[in-house]
Structures are given as structure tokens and as C-alpha cells.
């Protein structure tokens, strides 16, 4: 025993020397090389290309050309779909998560819901598009059931699964579970004592939510909504599978640009990508900042 006690300080004393050893960085060199080659450089060069003419000279032209109606409208549709699916996913996900955490439901429901959410949040891309065509398409099960049972054809209302609302409903399939997965730990952080204190002071459910729970939760709620927003903004496979290239969202426009230079200007394509990085970067940055804020209370 004394021997090990003695050897511990010895090795600790030896450590710092090794740490100052300037060769330690060699161990992480492969990682940084990989990150540079397949993450930082490709993205960085695109961003530089956004400020260049085809001959390599500096310009703001590409950024200015982004403000043409067809490109602006693709950004607008993307932003609208992302916002709608983020808000819907956040609202329903919040209700679902609070039902399981605070609603007094049987205990076994919670791990079950978490498992289902884990699956559903990863069930995206083309298969998800196929599933919603089979559900809400013209001959989908739900469409036919509504016609047969209630004589109500959703397509007579102008609804189409290959449109804005169809895509939003489809995105909700992975947005809601993602919200539940991220928000549940935050809801766990709401201490029971706070509710009891509020009750003892004569506060009702409204007072509790308005003055205690919501002020504590809002960074988590807003932050997660922003994460959902960025999540659907960068998505393409689901939209492509659902609508082909008929819905003009920015990822599909960029896909067509990479495939066949539909904008007839390589550098304008780079500017298109730059705009996307800016939007997803800002919303993710805000998410990280808000997550830091929410952790102040929810521990």
C-alpha cells in the first residue's frame, strides 16, 4: 500500500514534464488534418468562391445576384417551411414531453416514448417521403378513409402532399420526436419545490407557468426550436423524394445547381451555399448560446 501511495505522486510529478513535451500534438494531428481536408477547407473555399468572379478576382456581384426573385423565393419557401415545421414540432413536442414528464402518466410510458422518439427522429429522408405519399397522397390510406367515412376529400381543399403543407407535415414526423428528446432533460430540471412553493403562496397553474416554469424554460424552448429550424433548413432528401424538383426550396435549387449549373454561374452557386451556411450557422449559434443560458437554472 505505501508503495502505491508513493508511486502516485511520483508519476503525477512526471506527468507535467511529458505534457510540456511539444510532440504531444502529433496524437491529434490526423484528426485536424482530416477536419481541414473534409470539413474546413471545402466549406471555406466555397465561401471564398462566393466573393470571386470566375477568373478569381474579388467581387460582391454574386451576393448581389442572390437577390433575384427566383433565388429569393427559394430562400423564402425554405425559411417558411423550416419555421412552420420548427414551431409545430416545438409546440407538439413540448406538449408531449410535458405530458410524460409532468402529466402524471404511468411510469412505463416514458422510456417507451423515448425509444419511439429515437427511432422516429432517425426515420427521415426518402423512406419518410414514401410513407407520407402512402398516407396523404391522392390514393393514400388517410385520404381514402376521409373520403369513404366522411365524404371529405382533402384534395378538394387545395391540399397536396407535394406542397408546402405536405412537406411541413412530413418534416414534423422527425421534428416532434427530436423536440421531445432534447426537451425532456430540461423539463426534468423543473424542481417540484417550485411548484409546491407556488401552490403554497396561492398560485394556480397559470401563475406557475407564467411566472416560474416559462421564464426558466424559455431559453431551452427557443434554443431547441432554432435547432429544429436549422435541421429542416438543411434537409433535402425528404423534399426531393416527396416533390421531385417541383417545389423550389433552396436545397433543391442548390442540388440542381451542383448537378447541372442551372444558374449558369458557378460562383453564384457558391453564394447560394454561403447563404445556407449563414442561416444554419446563426440558428445553431443561437441554440448553443441559449443552451448555456438554460443550464443556469436547470441542473
Amino acid at each position: 500500500m505505501p508503495a502505491t501511495l508513493q508511486s502516485a505522486p511520483l508519476s503525477l510529478a512526471a506527468r507535467p514534464k511529458l505534457d510540456q513535451n511539444s510532440w504531444a500534438w502529433i496524437g491529434v494531428a490526423p484528426f485536424f488534418a482530416f477536419a481541414a481536408m473534409f470539413l474546413v477547407l471545402p466549406t471555406g473555399l466555397l465561401m471564398i468562391g462566393a466573393f470571386q468572379h470566375a477568373d478569381g478576382s474579388f467581387t460582391f456581384d454574386n451576393i448581389i445576384h442572390l437577390f433575384q426573385p427566383s433565388i429569393l423565393s427559394s430562400y423564402r419557401i425554405s425559411l417558411e417551411i423550416s419555421a412552420a415545421s420548427a414551431l409545430g414540432g416545438a409546440a407538439i413536442g413540448f406538449l408531449l414531453a410535458s405530458a410524460v414528464v409532468l402529466g402524471g402518466l404511468p411510469r412505463w410510458l416514458r422510456p417507451t416514448l423515448m425509444t419511439f422518439c429515437g427511432v422516429a427522429s432517425n426515420f427521415a429522408g426518402l423512406p419518410l417521403a414514401f410513407a407520407f405519399i402512402a398516407t396523404l397522397g391522392r390514393t393514400g390510406l388517410v385520404t381514402l378513409l376521409l373520403v369513404n367515412l366522411f365524404d371529405f376529400n382533402i384534395y378538394s381543399t387545395g391540399f397536396n402532399v407535394l406542397s408546402f403543407w405536405g412537406l411541413t407535415l412530413t418534416y414534423l414526423y422527425f421534428q416532434i420526436p427530436l423536440m421531445v428528446l432534447i426537451l425532456t432533460p430540461a423539463l426534468d430540471g423543473l424542481k417540484r419545490e417550485w411548484r409546491e412553493a407556488s401552490d403554497n403562496l396561492g398560485g394556480g397553474a397559470w401563475h406557475y407557468w407564467r411566472y416560474i416554469a416559462f421564464p426558466v424554460l424559455w431559453p431551452a424552448l427557443l434554443g431547441t426550436s432554432l435547432l429544429l429550424f436549422a435541421n429542416s433548413f438543411g434537409a433535402i432528401a425528404t423534399a426531393y423524394g416527396l416533390t421531385g424538383s417541383s417545389l423550389n426550396i433552396v436545397t433543391i435549387l442548390l442540388f440542381a445547381q451542383i448537378r447541372g449549373d442551372v444558374l449558369h454561374d458557378q460562383n453564384l452557386g457558391f453564394a447560394l451555399a454561403l447563404g445556407m451556411i449563414l442561416i444554419t450557422g446563426l440558428s445553431n449559434g443561437a441554440y448553443i448560446w441559449l443552451r448555456g443560458r438554460s443550464e443556469r437554472w436547470l441542473r
Binding site: 511529458l18 505534457d19 504531444a24 500534438w25 496524437g27 491529434v28 490526423p30 484528426f31 482530416f34 473534409f38 470539413l39 474546413v40 466549406t43 473555399l45 466555397l46 468562391g49 407538439i92 406538449l95 408531449l96 410535458s98 405530458a99 402529466g103 402524471g104 402518466l105 416514448l113 425509444t115 429515437g118 427511432v119 432517425n122 426515420f123 429522408g125 426518402l126 423512406p127 419518410l128 414514401f130 410513407a131 405519399i133 402512402a134 393514400g140 390510406l141 388517410v142 414526423y173 416532434i176 397553474a205 436549422a230 438543411g234 433535402i236 432528401a237 426531393y240 423524394g241 421531385g244 436545397t251 442548390l254 442540388f255 451542383i258 452557386g269 451555399a273 451556411i277 444554419t280 445553431n284
Partner: protein, 263 residues
């Protein structure tokens, strides 16, 4: 209190409906291929399609390669950061989160720009190097999940003591990594691996833009040209996702159980 609980059940009911109705509808749709009666014809057509077998096999190999390359990249890095360079941790964590910020389509756009066939490193110039580029792209996409899984695994064991014990017994670095550290975080690596598999197997954007015969582009082709087969494929894809998530749960639980036993 009663009203409260009613609201909770209502929210849960909406969630359950939203989750199950599309699955039931997809399954029903996939059985409709033969007119007037339900049959599994769509499944036998899909499973018997040589294209399905070829693309699924290709994507499986890509996924396995991604898991191997990702593990070899992430485990030594996370280990080294934990042991020797904790100062770099915030930077490394930031880098591993970048793939969540930069959309996959932008990444592959960048690859096509700097690794195209007339560039300084023409990776898209031949089949094998394009495959390699695709694997590296997938490693990048899986990086946030893989790194987090491995980092959590490393935090749950005493890396320093294990390393010192192995060192004092005369083990070199490769031996420490592969026979001491790796087995101890195997559950973490496996959960990262299954998640990676679930991401890679149906990936569409990168495979399609790099023109590789992967499962994702095949799904797109079938989706554009067939009526009932896509639903059958969606059901198959759903079961693959289930299997991956289920295996993560199994191995995650096994990890906690066994480490509690040994301590």
C-alpha cells in the same frame, strides 16, 4: 388535477397517432400491388431486384468502412485529448459539431469543387478514390455522433489509471489503445457504430452527387418510377432504423450493467 391528466393523455394520443398512422398507411399501401387483394408482391419484387441487392450491398460496405475509419479517427483523438491535451477539448468539440451546422449538400459541393478531376487532388477522377471520398464524407457526417458516443465512453472509465497501469507493465501506445482502451469503451463505440449505420445506409445527397450506386439514389429511382414498391422499401428502411436503435439500447444497457459488475 383531473383535467391536467386528461390533457396529458390527449397529447400522448396525438403523438401516438402521428407516429403510427403513417406506418400503418405505408404498410397497407405496400400490400396493394395486386389489384383487388392484399399481397406481399411489392416486397418480393423489391427484394428480388438485382439493383436492390447491389445497391444495398454497396451501401452496407460503405457503412462498415465509415465505421472503421471513423473509429480509427475518433478513438485515438478523444483518448489523447482526455489524457494529454485537455486544453484542446473545446476546439475539438466545436469541430465535431460543425457537420450539424454545415448541411451535407454544402459539404459535398465543396468536395466537388476542390477534389474534382481537374484539381490538385483529383479524388473524383477514379472509382476507388470517389468511393474513398464518399467514405470520408460519411465519416464527417457521422462525426458528431461518433465523437459524442466515444467521449462519453471515455469519461466513464479511468483513462489515466488504465494507461499508467498498462505503461508500467511495458505496453506501447498501439497496445494500450487496442487492447486496453478499445475493449473498455466497446459499448460506446458500438452505439456510435449503429447510429452511423442508420445514417449511412439510406444517405442520398452525397451518394447521388458523387454518382455512386448507393441505396439512397436507388430509393429515389424507385420512388420516381414505381407506385407500390416505394412503400415496401419504406417499411424495410423503417425496420433497419428500428434494428439499429434497438441494438444501441441493448449494447448501451449492457455497458452500464457490466461496468457496474466489475467495479
Amino acid at each position: 388535477m383531473k383535467r391536467n391528466r386528461f390533457g396529458a393523455w390527449l397529447a400522448l394520443a396525438i403523438g401516438v397517432i402521428y407516429f403510427f398512422v403513417p406506418l400503418i398507411a405505408t404498410f397497407e399501401f405496400s400490400l396493394r400491388l395486386r389489384r383487388g387483394t392484399y399481397s406481399f408482391d411489392a416486397y418480393s419484387i423489391v427484394l428480388g431486384d438485382p439493383q436492390f441487392q447491389a445497391t444495398f450491398g454497396y451501401s452496407t460496405i460503405m457503412a462498415l468502412a465509415t465505421i472503421v475509419v471513423g473509429t480509427l479517427l475518433v478513438v485515438p483523438t478523444a483518448y489523447w485529448i482526455q489524457l494529454r491535451l485537455p486544453r484542446l477539448r473545446p476546439l475539438v468539440e466545436f469541430i465535431t459539431l460543425l457537420p450539424l451546422v454545415i448541411p451535407a449538400i454544402v459539404l459535398v459541393f465543396g468536395y466537388l469543387r476542390i477534389y474534382n478531376s481537374s484539381s490538385w487532388l483529383p479524388m473524383t477522377g477514379s472509382v476507388w478514390s470517389t468511393n474513398l471520398l464518399l467514405v470520408f464524407g460519411y465519416v464527417t457526417l457521422a462525426l458528431p455522433y461518433m465523437y459524442r458516443a466515444v467521449d462519453t465512453g471515455l469519461r466513464s472509465i479511468d483513462v489515466r489509471s488504465l494507461t499508467e497501469a498498462a505503461e508500467s507493465l511495458g505496453a506501447g501506445w498501439p497496445k494500450i489503445l487496442f487492447t486496453v482502451i478499445l475493449p473498455n469503451i466497446r459499448p460506446a463505440i458500438l452505439s456510435g457504430a449503429f447510429l452511423t449505420f442508420a445514417i449511412v445506409i439510406g444517405e442520398f445527397t452525397m451518394a447521388s452527387l458523387l454518382n455512386r450506386p448507393a441505396f439512397g439514389p436507388y430509393l429515389q429511382l424507385v420512388g420516381a418510377n414505381r407506385a407500390y414498391e416505394p412503400s415496401a422499401l419504406a417499411i424495410i428502411a423503417f425496420f433497419i432504423t428500428w434494428a439499429c436503435m434497438g441494438l444501441i439500447q441493448v449494447f448501451g444497457r449492457g455497458a452500464r450493467g457490466s461496468s457496474a459488475d466489475t467495479r
